[in-house]
Symmetry: C2
DNA sequence: AAATATACCCAAAACGTTTCGGATTTACTT
DNA sequence: AAGTAAATCCGAAACGTTTTGGGTATATTT
């Protein structure tokens, strides 16, 4: 593997000059620059980024921490789309992406900070972390520039991008109310997700504004999974048959709720309206097609990468970005039966 | 950021000893080892992998080259599942994954080998590359250990994992023949995909064995996309209305074909049988549910990582792995109408 | 003609590790 | 008591870059 020294020797100059020539500094004459470039090509040189990073103290890599990127998570393409967005922006930059796998076994033996500091990543993007994850505390305490997706923390070195979950949930519930629904259940994620808290707020807000009573017993947690969402729907619909509409905090849970409804012989949307959240791919393919609150998942990732890299290069100062949501009216919601 | 030197100073030993102590060498006494470990913890030390890699000439990273990981590719979760498999195995190893983005613009300015050599990856996994991609030639010519997914090349430093595409396609077509179909069209990918060539062979083989004539005009390319698959189906069904069944080389194209059929008022499966390939998530969600040849995409990625890492660590010598496929009989195929 | 500016170049230190080839002490053999 | 073995330790070189703080000509100004 050829080095800068080999080039220096063959071109008859010092390594300093080679380095400066290849990096486009001005204090090297045009003819030696040409010469060096030619020799470099002849020897099929490629720089050793490790050596460079070592001395420059910047690795030009950003770490990507996705928790739970497993066989099962493929169904929920939320994470995948975010990843695609991150990838898209990063690929246009001078950075590369390093994927950190934080399966639970590894987590115990290596902390978040260790992971990042060993690899000397310049910054890190974190997605899908729970608020009770030990890593989260570390983030705030460490000094590694960090961008959180869907966790609204902010400090000198931590920023975030998210969507307006309160408003999004409000839109969803408002839609149901417009259709005449008054007994509206909610299937939420879990208490350790910021988005769950916010979507709950939106739900309450919409009820409030419409002058409808808030029934805590109309709410059940579905852990963001299809299975648990189905169970939650079962529970809600059996204990409170008067419910005519369900607002689910994720599409996957909404799809679970749809199967529950089917098994309970409640036809969607005539006997029961269901609205989801996320607008995952499956939402347009299940039958009936799922009405949902769409978030720009790709954009979320894209903007996350953009924000972080902007900060790393001191080109920007923003630490926070909130994106819009959009109601996608499909076939799983309808006017309440009189 | 604390270094090995800081530890040495504080513990009153040489850097050599610190290094050897932390790496578990035997020629350091138990008491100094304890001492060093304690000091390391006090100073919150984490090793600099860049420095280590530089001297050891191994970076403990493997590169992942996925071409076309974009907004659109999310629908086709083939790649995503493979990625999940790779990720799963790698996360259990001591390696980390670095994602190389080869969008076309970057490709021109940086070659495949440069990408890998700059980052000094120990090996690389390549997925979704076309046979006419300039990168592919580079792989063979370079000396970087490389694992190809679905491209059956083999040499000193290149290995591959794939599925038995000939047999898989044969199974699909045989299934159609068993249902009584004789005029069977095929929507293939494109000529620059090994899998397309192999699936075509399987198609011909099945026809041969059944004593059915091979009609080249019953074949059209759909580029592996839903759009082009739909177009190909249109063309085939309009020009050859006698066709009663379609074998598609990917589920996405099969889904495209289903919409074409709908628009042409040919009801699946009674008027037209359609069988896909891959068994992507959507296959079970479209209506009617798609009969298809399932491949273990997650396993493909998992085994790819395993094979490569095994080779890197000289624990294995295998350069080739072929996985099985399975016929998933669903609702898009039926007996031919008499 | 002297002083100054400009253009071009370089030696050496630094980044944080690992490892080679001993060196020193202590314990064990003969 | 001398020699050998084992147990611990260490100095210095190496990995391949970038950068600092100059140096030496040549050209330009005064």
């Amino acid at each position: 593997m050829t080095t800068i020294k080999d080039i220096a020797k063959k071109a008859g100059v010092s390594v300093t000059t080679v380095s400066r020539a290849l990096n486009g500094y001005s204090d090297v004459s045009e003819i030696t620059r040409k010469k060096i470039a030619q020799v470099a090509k002849e020897l099929n040189y490629s720089p050793n980024s490790l050596a460079r990073s070592l001395v420059m103290k910047r690795s030009q890599t950003i770490g990507l921490l996705v928790s739970g990127f497993t066989k099962e998570s493929v169904k929920d393409n939320f994470m995948v789309e975010v990843l695609a967005g991150v990838n898209e922006y990063v690929s246009g930059s001078s950075y590369d992406l390093i994927l950190f796998n934080t399966n639970s076994s590894k987590q115990r033996e290596k902390t978040y900070t260790q992971l990042c500091r060993e690899r000397r990543v310049d910054g890190v993007i974190i997605q899908g972390i729970r608020t009770d994850d030990p890593y989260l505390k570390e983030v705030v305490e460490s000094d590694i520039p960090c961008l959180l997706i869907d966790i609204p923390l902010e400090s000198d070195h931590v920023s975030h991008v998210t969507t307006d979950n309160v408003l999004g949930a409000e839109k969803a519930v408002k839609h149901l109310i417009h259709l005449g629904h008054e007994k509206i259940g909610m299937i939420n994620g879990h208490e350790f997700a910021f988005v769950s808290r916010e979507r709950l707020q939106g739900y309450q807000k919409a009820l409030d504004k419409a002058g409808l009573a808030f029934h805590p017993e109309y709410i059940a947690d579905g852990e963001f999974t299809e299975e648990k969402g189905k169970e939650a729907a079962f529970q809600l619909l059996r204990n409170h048959p008067e419910i005519t509409a369900l607002f689910c905090a994720s599409d996957l849970m909404a799809i679970g709720a749809m199967s529950a409804a089917k098994e309970l012989n409640r036809q969607v949307p005539v006997d029961l309206s269901i609205i989801g959240y996320d607008d995952i791919l499956l939402a347009s393919y299940v039958s009936p097609k799922l009405t949902t609150i769409a978030q720009n998942k790709f954009g979320l990732g894209y903007e996350a990468a953009r924000l972080l890299i902007g900060l790393l290069q001191h080109e920007t100062e923003t630490h926070r970005l909130v994106m819009k949501t959009e109601l996608m009216e499909r076939e799983s919601t309808a006017e309440v039966k009189k």
